[in-house]
Symmetry: C2
Subunit: 240 residues, 2 copies
């Protein structure tokens, strides 16, 4: 009987925001795998590090820093092959996933290569979207609001159209798109309502009204949240 | 010095999907509050029940079963008053929130009444959206996909417009809107790609392609998820 592939959500960064289930699976894992940007410590591994036991087999999946178009097919083929060999010995493999395994991220590229041959279990995690709203101290959506998650790299016309159709929206992966997004939000009269968060729940977290964010670009792990629904919902960033 | 108001996400239902932080706060709470539909056991309390200590003061916030328009103002006023008195004695109050505190739900109505007078900390939780995608075994969104969360009660024209603008979408609070939504998805050629989940992560969970769901209506705690982005992503419901 082959092992089970677990895709385990780690949450946004604070090790206390792992679920009890994720904690249990990582603590008891004989083999773990995780994305690792070449040349820097793996963020996923860092989140879970205090729960990883001595002697656990580790399979880092080394990715180039910027994978802007299609994900690197050969890297995922190879990682899937390595994991597959482990699963075939009857041993489970626990894949560490930043945030939630199925909300953006890279776990799905392993999963699509393995899911028809092996038993899989996905353990949902706290998304950074929820963590950023918590840090800003303002709800994401209520009642019959439409909430849209919009990737920053979309062109202005696309961004604008989705923004106009939403009662609330989150712009993810802001990065170098920050100036363009700010200009667009100002044009739509929404800059004042926008909250900005980077590195949510980590010691280096930044939480601020977007108008007060001083830099020209933002890191990859950043987002802009706007709640149009109710003007009473002013930003109330918490100090955590 | 006044106490802190904690809004703590419980996750979708499985007690193991509380975060380690939520677990810690509930175990050590002297006072908890939670929504409680009149005449039925509180779902929020049930999720957390094994973590609630003997002797903890409990503040059930009793809501009528169907609160379709504005939430019952007087009920939240009263609950906020009760919680406020506790906070003023210097004691913390931990509010139990199904799923995530700021993604729909009712915690925000307490929060808007208390947030300017008291220190608040929001602990994000696993949303049922993530739990349902995990149960269906299919990603929510990838790369530059636009993901839209759409409440079921919206009119057909509104639903259709948002659906057409999204690469992936989630229809929440399906309930009695199920026949209308199915008809609309069929018209748009998306019925075959739709997954249905109710009572995610609970023993009575139902996970099925929407076409196979036999009933005329759905419970409130149900959702429909469609990922248009990639036809290779067929539904792969997991048995958990």
């Amino acid at each position: 009987m082959t092992g089970t592939l677990y895709g385990v959500g780690l949450g946004p960064g604070d090790p206390e925001l792992l679920t009890i289930k994720a904690h249990r699976l990582i603590c008891s894992a004989k083999t773990i795998a995780y994305p690792a940007a070449v040349g820097v410590p793996s963020f996923a591994r860092q989140i879970a590090s205090q729960y990883i036991q001595e002697g656990t087999t580790e399979i880092p999946i080394e990715m180039p820093m910027k994978v802007e178009r299609f994900p690197a097919k050969e890297i995922y083929d190879q990682a899937a092959e390595t994991i597959s060999r482990k699963l075939q010995t009857g041993e489970d493999v626990v894949v560490l996933c930043e945030g939630d395994p199925f909300l953006y991220g890279s776990f799905m590229y392993l999963y699509e290569r393995l899911r028809f041959d092996f038993n899989c279990e996905i353990v949902p995690g706290v998304s950074s979207i929820n963590a950023c709203a918590a840090a800003l101290g303002r709800p994401l959506a209520a009642r019959n609001d439409v909430l849209t998650i919009i990737p920053g790299p979309l062109e202005d016309e696309q961004l604008q159209h989705r923004i106009e159709q939403s009662d609330a929206f989150v712009i993810m992966k802001v990065g170098r798109h920050l100036p363009r997004v700010k200009t667009l939000l100002e044009k739509l009269g929404l800059l004042g309502a926008a909250g900005y968060v980077e590195r949510a729940t980590l010691p280096e977290m930044v939480v601020t009204p977007l108008v007060d964010y001083p830099n020209e670009t933002a890191p990859y792990f950043s987002m802009i949240i706007v709640y149009k629904g109710d003007e009473a919902w002013t930003l109330h960033p918490q100090s955590l």
